[in-house]
């Protein structure tokens, strides 16, 4: 971790000094450098996501600069910790644009932070490529509804967390009683509501028997687990993520939950840091095949040369597997590159035009830009964490692949009633 920090620092310094005349001389956009402000949660139990965002952005930036930049313009980036706090995220955004002079912004983990930043982006007139924040409202309400065109989302929203789950478990007749241990904020409520709505359509017979909500910085999940288990659910829909997800799963194990339920949906359990955290348990098959998960990208899918190459480069650069926020951020920079090259401008409106109709191959597969809500459409499978001889950490196996159009919501959007 120290090493990354050090390297990133060196890169930043280099980027800083690499700017001058030589670069600007040949830059066809007439700026010393194209500045990219990057944000993510770099502290607390979710810190790994911020760092993965930073790693993804840094790597993309290095590759683009090595290949001569964008229209001859070198890229420059600055990463800031938003602490998963709306106020901090907004303040950073203002700093990055009005003081540091960012042309584009990338990142943001928390849905709450994203929803707070939306209106500010309109004021700042800068595009922000969201690469993790998942609430459907960001694109459905703020872009399609309020028309804030500066919002662009590269990562798949809670359609992945909620609708895919419904599609998988509708075919499990033995599961009738669902409970949730949910993240106590926008993301958790939205996912749970969307999941219930979708599942009810296919399965009028299921009941939703218990809910327990865990806010950021929940230290101990045992009361939440015992609270929902008291209602004898058949399956649990769980949205805490990152380190909190690992602790939640572990405490579920020592409360013998996996002897009592048929399925546990850990929405973002396919993320590398979570898989790393539960390696030991997966090796000993402690979850008895009841644990299901997905992510916004998984390192063992798609099985394409691009993806394999990306994984290799990433491992070489950071000595780790990329999690989804790394891939989405990495891809976001190339999307930005394509858009700028198409519009041959840094002007926000022109670049947005440049995004129209974009179809681009990323490590995560083909991403297609949807103009109505500025959502990039691509599909990610769900599966069960299993060990694979090719990897030191678990991967998602027994994959269920769905076509994106089958589980994304489509405009015109009917609002989801978000309730706890």
């Amino acid at each position: 971790m120290k090493r990354w920090g050090g390297l990133t620092f060196v890169i930043l310094i280099l980027a800083w000094f690499a700017v001058p005349d030589r670069a600007s001389a040949q830059c066809q956009l007439g700026v010393p450098a194209i500045k990219i402000g990057v944000q993510g949660a770099a502290s607390g139990p979710h810190a790994d996501y911020g760092r993965q965002i930073e790693m993804g952005a840094t790597m993309a930036l290095e590759e683009i600069n090595a290949a001569g930049g964008i229209l001859g313009c070198k890229l420059e980036m600055k990463f800031m910790d938003d602490e998963n706090r709306a106020a901090t995220g907004v303040r950073n955004a203002r700093y990055l644009v009005t003081e540091w002079g960012a042309h584009f912004m990338v990142g943001t983990d928390s849905s709450g932070v994203a929803m707070a930043m939306g209106p500010v982006l309109a004021e700042l007139k800068r595009i922000h490529f969201f690469t993790h924040a998942a609430t459907h409202r960001l694109t459905e309400e703020l872009v399609a509804g309020k028309g804030i065109k500066e919002i662009v989302r590269v990562s798949v929203p809670i359609y992945q967390d909620a609708i895919i789950a419904a599609l998988i478990f509708k075919d499990r007749p033995e599961i009738k009683r669902w409970a949730t241990i949910g993240a106590d904020y926008e993301y958790g409520y939205a996912s749970w509501s969307l999941f219930k709505d979708t599942l009810k359509k296919y399965r009028p017979d299921v009941e939703f028997v218990a809910t327990a909500w865990a806010p950021f910085l929940t230290l101990d999940f045992s009361p939440h687990i015992s609270a929902v288990m008291a209602q004898k659910p058949d399956a649990i829909f769980s949205t805490p993520w990152a380190g909190e997800a690992v602790m939640l799963l572990r405490q579920a194990l020592i409360q013998g939950v996996f002897d009592q339920i048929h399925a546990w949906w850990q929405a973002m359990g396919g993320s590398v840091d979570v898989l790393e955290g539960i390696t030991g348990e997966v090796q000993r098959d402690r979850f008895k095949g009841a644990l299901w998960a997905t992510a916004r990208y998984i390192h063992n899918w798609p099985d394409t040369p691009e993806n394999k190459a990306f994984i290799e480069r990433f491992k070489k650069r950071w000595v780790r597997f990329p999690n989804y926020s790394a891939e989405t951020t990495y891809s976001a920079l190339f999307i930005m590159k394509a858009a700028v090259e198409k519009s041959r401008s840094l002007d926000t409106a022109k670049v947005i035009e440049g995004l129209k109709g974009m179809q681009i191959r990323n490590p995560g597969g083909l991403r297609v830009f949807r103009a109505e809500d500025h959502q990039f459409i691509y599909n990610v499978p769900a599966g069960r964490p299993v060990m694979d001889p090719k990897y030191p950490i678990p991967v998602l196996g027994d994959l269920r692949v769905f076509d994106a159009k089958d589980y994304y919501r489509h405009p015109p959007f009917t609002p989801v009633v978000v309730t706890k």
Binding site: T211, W213, S222, P223, I254, G256, G277
Partner: protein, 285 residues
């Protein structure tokens, strides 16, 4: 019915972390008259140290816990000798502010040293699994914690009621000048007590590492609960701290079960009401 009892037992196990934390806070306040804002941060440092020795260096669990206690005890000595001791006798507002400064320092120090690393160590074999209780599996780990909490309670009782050192400390607590007059080395007592309190906090943190989230900022979250407890039980009252821990721990467990929305609110209402009606605490007559 069983479910309610079960939830109560879960709450009881959570109460033990709070007990270890607030016991230290209480002892320190009782003897030094200092309300240590940074006490929760000591819990945090204890957790990170244990995490380092046990998780990263792979030492045996008990050794790791022991080492983290020593480490935090040392930190406590530095805090008391090097800084707090210079503020005795002046407005306690400044002691609060000083210890608040420590929160800021420790939070960032933890970020700098451990960053966001989140490689969770495995549960020690002998604490893994669950046993059946009230027809449901109850974690061995939580049982073990309840045990530890009770043992610590007994040990503390013994220390303060039955040993010479304990009696000297109580004498110092009730009257510094007198203790000084009869030749007690008050500064040393203070340092010792502060270190003891720090180690209790560290114990709570260390024992949590395999099953509890540890992150920068949890210090602030924990200290508030410790404050609530010590206020309910009576500032400086060890028995009160124990009962207070049970109340808060079990109440918050039921909170998740029955009234998840205003759980936190009610706990603070209790704190305020106690302060208004019996500022000396429920268990001090």
């Amino acid at each position: 019915m069983d479910n309610i009892a079960f939830q109560g037992l879960i709450g009881l196990s959570l109460a033990m972390y709070l007990w270890l934390l607030s016991a230290g806070l209480t002892i320190i306040f009782g003897v030094l008259g200092v309300l240590n804002f940074a006490h929760g941060s000591l819990y945090m440092v204890g957790a990170y140290l244990a995490f380092t020795f046990y998780g990263l260096l792979g030492l045996p669990f008990w050794v790791a816990v022991g080492l983290s206690l020593l480490g935090v005890g040392l930190l406590g000595i530095i805090m008391e000798r090097g800084f707090l001791s210079r503020l005795y006798g002046i407005d306690e507002a400044y002691q609060l502010l000083l210890t608040f400064g420590f929160i800021l320092i420790l939070d960032d120090a933890v970020k700098i040293i451990w960053g966001g690393v989140f490689k969770i160590p495995p549960i020690p074999e002998f604490l893994d699994g669950a046993w059946s209780l009230l027809g449901r599996p109850f974690p061995v780990y939580n049982t073990f914690l309840i045990g530890i909490g009770l043992v610590v309670a007994v040990l503390l009782w013994f220390l303060f009621e039955r040993t010479w050192w304990g009696r000297t400390v109580r004498a110092t607590a009730s009257d510094r000048e007198m203790a000084n007059a009869i030749g007690v080395n008050v500064p040393r007592i203070f340092t010792g007590v502060f270190a003891l309190g720090a180690m209790l906090a560290a114990l709570g943190g260390a024992l949590g590492t395999p099953v509890r989230v540890v992150a920068p900022g949890i210090g602030a979250a924990m200290i508030i609960q410790a404050f609530i407890i010590t206020v309910i039980g009576g500032l400086g009252n060890l028995k009160g701290a124990f009962v207070g821990s049970l109340i808060v721990g079990i109440l918050s467990a039921y909170g998740t079960l029955f009234f998840p929305v205003f759980e936190l609110f009610f706990i603070f209402v209790i704190m305020a009401v106690v302060l208004l009606i019996r500022p000396q605490g429920l268990f001090t007559r």
